[in-house]
Amino acid sequence: MISFRNVNKHYGSFHVLKDISLEVDQGEVVVVIGPSGSGKSTMLRCINRLETISDGELVVSGIHVNGKQTDINDLRKNIGMVFQHFNLYPHKTVLENITLAPIKALGVDEKTAQETAVFYLEKVGIPEKANSYPSQLSGGQQQRVAIARGLAMKPKLMLFDEPTSALDPEMIGEVLEVMKQLATEGMTMVVVTHEMGFAREVADRVVFMDEGKIVEEGRPSEFFAQPQAERAQLFLKRVLNH
């Protein structure tokens, strides 16, 4: 479903992504971990072209993300994204946040969009907040709305960019629960996170990045028990002993 082939990205003279090659299959949950500044988020943001790549090839659902003929809006309709800081629209209610893109981008009628929104709000456990504004919700609730907003487009793929990093510790669980449920339902997910427990429990594959490179990847049971790369061993030692 996602295919990175020798992808590089530069910010000026800074080489952010170095020769990235990665395949993600349909229905797979891939968790990307690594130290800050290792290029995890940048790699994720390349998938829906929030960042452009400098060279190499990036294909999503058979479409070249950076192809000149590619209608990026069409491609993005199939890729949901959840951000670290939720990025809910503060001037719109929860329901309006969720229905905006289905109505304006997909052309769904308002009634159907609202029914879909309520369905996904129930799925993330906060249907009673439909008419609230984001500022009236806790961080965990906001992030669940953001997930519902992504799901309402019925995407083939969901991207999560550190979805729990901005949350209070007691809010993290409720967001991870929703993500686990999604994973069990077969959603293709790429998750950048520092939640090692989630990676261990939910991921089909863990990708460890450092200094713009994929240093190691493997099944979570193997990766967490016996990381091969020295940098991954050091990272896990520091993170798990924290």
């Binding site: 809006n73 503060p90 001037h91 905006l100 304006k104 997909l106 984001p134």
Partner: protein
């Protein structure tokens, strides 16, 4: 003590000018706002050629005196088209004010968290849709105070029509002054008419600002 006979004798002229000033202000307000928003979006659109034209417009217009712009439309274009003082003045005033509004709107748009645009675009909305439904409604809250100030300036700057026979308040104040040689009182009364417009406008902007601060 003010000579109120100036006001009572020439009340009809003052009032006629006052109505024209209101007319110019309303037309100017609408046109400059629409043009200003378009130019602001051009300045930040992800298309370099639009940025270039937007920037040229703002830098060119806001750095020359208003009277030159009005003269351009009144005298300069007279070779090709004969615009009335009212039309030339209103067009010049609208274009001049639009440059300042564009800057205020641009600053407002750019102060909206960039994650908002990312969230909107990543959900498949087109750039224009993201602007219309997500960014601009949030920017409005930020730009109300500076735009309100520009509208107050626009009302005051409408006095420029006085020099191109625009038949507004200042034109008739000049006319009354020339007829009566009563300088101080005539212009004090003219100023009062401007205050009748600008003070409520100023209060309204303050009210809007407070109301928007309470919203969401």
């Amino acid at each position: 003590m003010l000579d109120f006979s100036i006001l009572t004798t020439y009340y009809d002229l003052f009032f006629k000018g006052f109505l024209t000033t209101i007319e110019v202000s309303i037309i100017g307000l609408i046109c400059s706002f629409i043009l200003g928003v378009i130019v602001a979006v051009m300045r930040i659109a992800p298309l370099r050629i639009l940025n270039y034209f937007g920037t040229c417009f703002v830098e060119f217009i806001r750095n020359i005196p208003l009277i030159i712009i009005v003269f351009f439309f009144y005298h300069g274009l007279s070779v090709y088209i004969n615009l009335s003082g009212f039309a030339a003045g209103t067009i010049g005033l609208s274009i001049y004010t639009a440059a300042f509004i564009a800057e205020a709107v641009r600053a407002g748009i750019q102060s909206v968290d960039k994650g908002q645009m990312e969230a909107a675009r990543s959900s498949g909305l087109k750039y224009i849709q993201a602007m219309r439904y997500v960014i601009l409604p949030q920017a409005v809250k930020i730009v109300i105070p500076p735009i309100g100030n520009q509208f107050i300036n626009l009302v005051k700057n409408s006095s420029i029509l006085g020099v191109v026979a625009g038949m507004e308040l200042m034109y008739f104040a000049d006319y009354i002054h020339e007829k009566t040689y009563v300088t101080f009182d005539t212009y004090i009364f003219a100023a009062m008419f401007y205050l009748v417009l600008t003070i409520p406008l100023s209060l309204f902007v303050n009210y809007l600002e407070r109301r928007l601060a309470r919203s969401y």
